[in-house]
């Protein structure tokens, strides 16, 4: 994206220079939020973020470092989509991986990139964080290794639903040029409202359209 001949958009230029572990992501986050950027800049910015995501996927970084980098990458993706994310923070006694706002609703974000599926206990713990927030706050739990078989069901019975689950296929679509985290969130919120399902993947939604 060029602002003039040979000029590169400051956003695109800065994204190209992202540190491998995204330790400079807060500076870029401020840049993304600093003004309105054009469609082309968003598109090219997303391509650059997707390249980082792919590099993370095939790389051999230790799990913890991969998890931190992923958290930052997600934050930048949400910022590009105009979801006004706040990066991870530590209120007293707990860790919150992120927070964002969409269409007047508030969302807590938990992101995990670990070896094993997330057990029900992790979802319960996250639910505890969400329950302690303003009524109507929704939790979005992202796990690149998926969820234990009993996890979503355990959260569902007899309780208010306030958690949505994202897996690796959802995130792959979120980083795809033709899709967005917001579009995926829309599908999940609809199916959670319609069917009471907190784990309804975007892939499943697309497959159903082809029946």
């Amino acid at each position: 994206m060029t602002g003039g001949q040979g000029d590169v958009s400051p956003l695109v230029g800065r994204l190209r220079e992202l540190a491998p572990d995204l330790r400079d992501f807060r500076e870029i986050l401020r840049l993304v939020k600093s003004r309105a950027w054009g469609d082309a800049e968003h598109a090219e910015g997303k391509v650059l973020l997707r390249e980082r995501f792919e590099a993370l996927r095939v790389g051999d970084a230790p799990w913890q470092r991969r998890g931190y980098t992923f958290e930052r990458l997600l934050c930048l993706l949400l910022a590009l989509e105009g979801l006004d994310p706040s990066p991870g923070y530590r209120p007293e006694g707990e860790q919150v991986d992120g927070f964002f706002i969409r269409q007047g609703r508030y969302f807590l974000l938990e992101s995990k990139w670990e070896r094993d599926e997330q057990p029900a206990s992790e979802l319960y713990a996250f639910r505890g964080k969400v329950d302690g927030r303003l009524s109507g706050t929704i939790g979005t739990f992202v796990s690149m290794s998926g969820f234990a078989a009993d996890a979503p069901k355990a959260l569902r019975y007899g309780k208010e639903l306030n958690i949505l689950l994202f897996d690796s296929t959802d995130i792959e679509y979120a980083f795809a040029p033709s899709c967005s985290f917001s579009a995926i969130l829309n599908v999940k919120m609809r199916e959670a409202a319609r069917l009471g399902e907190i784990y309804f993947t975007y892939q499943r939604h697309l497959d159903l359209l082809r029946i």
Partner: protein, 187 residues
Amino acid sequence: MEEPLKVGFIVEGEHDRIVVETIAGRVLPDGATLRTVRIGGKAALGSIYSTVWAFREAAYDAVLVVFDTDADDLESQTTRVRRDLERHGIREGVAICPASPELEAWLLAMTTDDPESLARPRRRLAETLGRTPDAKDYERMARELDLEIVARRSPSFRAFLESLGSIGREPSALTSSMPAQGPFDRP
């Protein structure tokens, strides 16, 4: 003229889709429509009733649900899925076909007499190939399987094959993965 069959599959992921559709393509009559919904993982099995409804609304002749048993008991998982479906009014036209312990055991059945006793078949498959298998590998392996040998060695595959074979005959009550007759046969 008879309408071509329409068969739906509910599976966990892409590699499962490739395998079941390739095998179904070899078994079912030419011209059958095959559509697969990938639900992401076993964690979504509790909600497949809505997908079965969707297949029914689209006039599919049968739906087969295929998932890995992993370390869990095949019969208890089958029963759980069946009960979930029955709770939502679904009692026929669906076959529950868990792969024991993983679908990759079916693909390895040509190399061992007892594929269902393999620990971590997915990992074993990668070791056998010397790399992580990709979509083309799954498609090729499913296409080259000797169905008779695999059915002899893997009870869960045999049940899947029987379910496919009974499609097109009159539908019957919902059964477990190892019926005495095909799950889509009228008793």
